[in-house]
């Protein structure tokens, strides 16, 4: 009990010493002069900011197209175009969504001055490997016929059937996966 009282007194004394010390110190600072700054540097720093007229050398200027570069820019080949269309299981018939998308894809291909169209058919892992190669070829052929029908020259279209060898979504054998039943068109 006695000890607790001594400890409490000591604590109070300590707190008082801290407070009085602080106030003593702050009054000492105040005694040096007025609280408003008088230093020139400080006045400059705290002065209102005035923006200089004209362009700053640090601001990036927009790049203006150089007319000398125009022929080189015009000679750049068009960006290659890629599209993927999906098929109904075990057929070379587009899914309803792809049937709609196909129109857009073929129109886009037709609008380009293309030199080469590579059409690669794929299947999922359902069925025999050999059968799937045939199925993927039929899918590629289907797209080829559509392209020819829209006036793309036959000799620039290359088709290939990869069967189930290049899956878009990796699956085990004998798994029906809609995203693997596809044709990939690379126009370049």
């Amino acid at each position: 009990m006695m000890l607790t009282n001594i400890f409490r007194t000591l604590c109070l004394l300590f707190i008082y010493a801290m407070i009085s010390g602080c106030s003593g110190y702050s009054s000492a600072v105040n005694s040096f002069g007025p609280e408003t700054p008088t230093s020139e540097i400080r006045q400059q720093i705290e002065a209102p900011l005035e923006l200089a007229e004209g362009e700053s050398p640090f601001c990036a200027k927009p790049v203006e197209p150089d007319p000398v570069m125009a022929p080189a820019m015009a000679a750049l080949p068009a960006e290659p175009y890629r599209a993927r269309l999906y098929f109904i299981f075990d057929t070379s018939t587009f899914t309803p969504e792809s049937e709609r998308a196909a129109q857009k894809v073929f129109d886009e291909i037709k609008s380009r001055q293309i030199a080469e169209a590579i059409v690669i058919g794929h299947t999922d892992t359902m069925g025999a490997e050999k059968y799937n190669i045939g199925l993927s070829e039929r899918r590629a052929q289907r797209v080829r016929q559509e392209l020819i029908r829209r006036g793309i020259p036959e000799n620039i279209i290359t088709t290939k059937g990869m069967g189930e060898s290049e899956l878009f979504i990796e699956t085990a054998d004998e798994v029906a996966e809609a995203r693997n039943r596809r044709v990939e068109i690379d126009v370049r």
Partner: protein
């Protein structure tokens, strides 16, 4: 019978080697062409036609009012303006890792370049050498103009 089989096998493997070597060399295709463009391969100048394959170490020269555009295997696109002489010094692209690098040299003229898969993975993949400096800008598009070096009179 055995001998002919052996010969056939050798011929087949030779053709395989030959075709794979040729295939490895082809790095791009001429996709746009205006006017007269020469391809200098192994010192021999040949007139360029649309669809021509471009190999490593090929040099291309465009005449005045001429231009050429090349699409590389990684989808990098290059356009060269008139009076341009440039070459493809190094070109590597791995379709599986989608990585590689390319070094081009411009001796004269104008080049515009839009990086494909090469710069998609590594912005420093394409370097352009000029007679005085090497551009290794970390970017996917760039255009270069090299003026003819003025030779001082002796």
């Amino acid at each position: 019978m055995m001998l002919s089989k052996k010969i056939a096998l050798t011929l087949f493997s030779c053709s395989l080697l030959f075709s794979s070597a040729l295939h490895a060399q082809s790095v791009g295709v001429v996709k746009t062409l205006v006017g007269n463009v020469q391809l200098i391969r192994a010192g021999e100048p040949v007139k360029v036609v649309l669809g021509d394959e471009i190999h490593i170490a090929d040099k291309l020269q465009t005449d005045s009012d001429s231009s050429v555009g090349i699409l590389f295997s990684d989808d990098t696109r290059l356009g060269a303006g008139p009076n341009t002489l440039f070459s493809i010094d190094v070109y590597q692209f791995d379709n599986v890792t989608q990585r590689g690098l390319a070094d081009l040299s411009v001796e004269n003229g104008t080049l515009a370049l839009v990086g494909g898969k090469l710069t998609a993975k590594n912005l420093d993949a394409i370097k352009v050498h000029t007679p005085t400096t090497m551009l290794a800008a970390s970017c996917s598009t760039l255009s270069v103009k090299v003026n003819q070096l003025i030779k001082e009179a002796p």
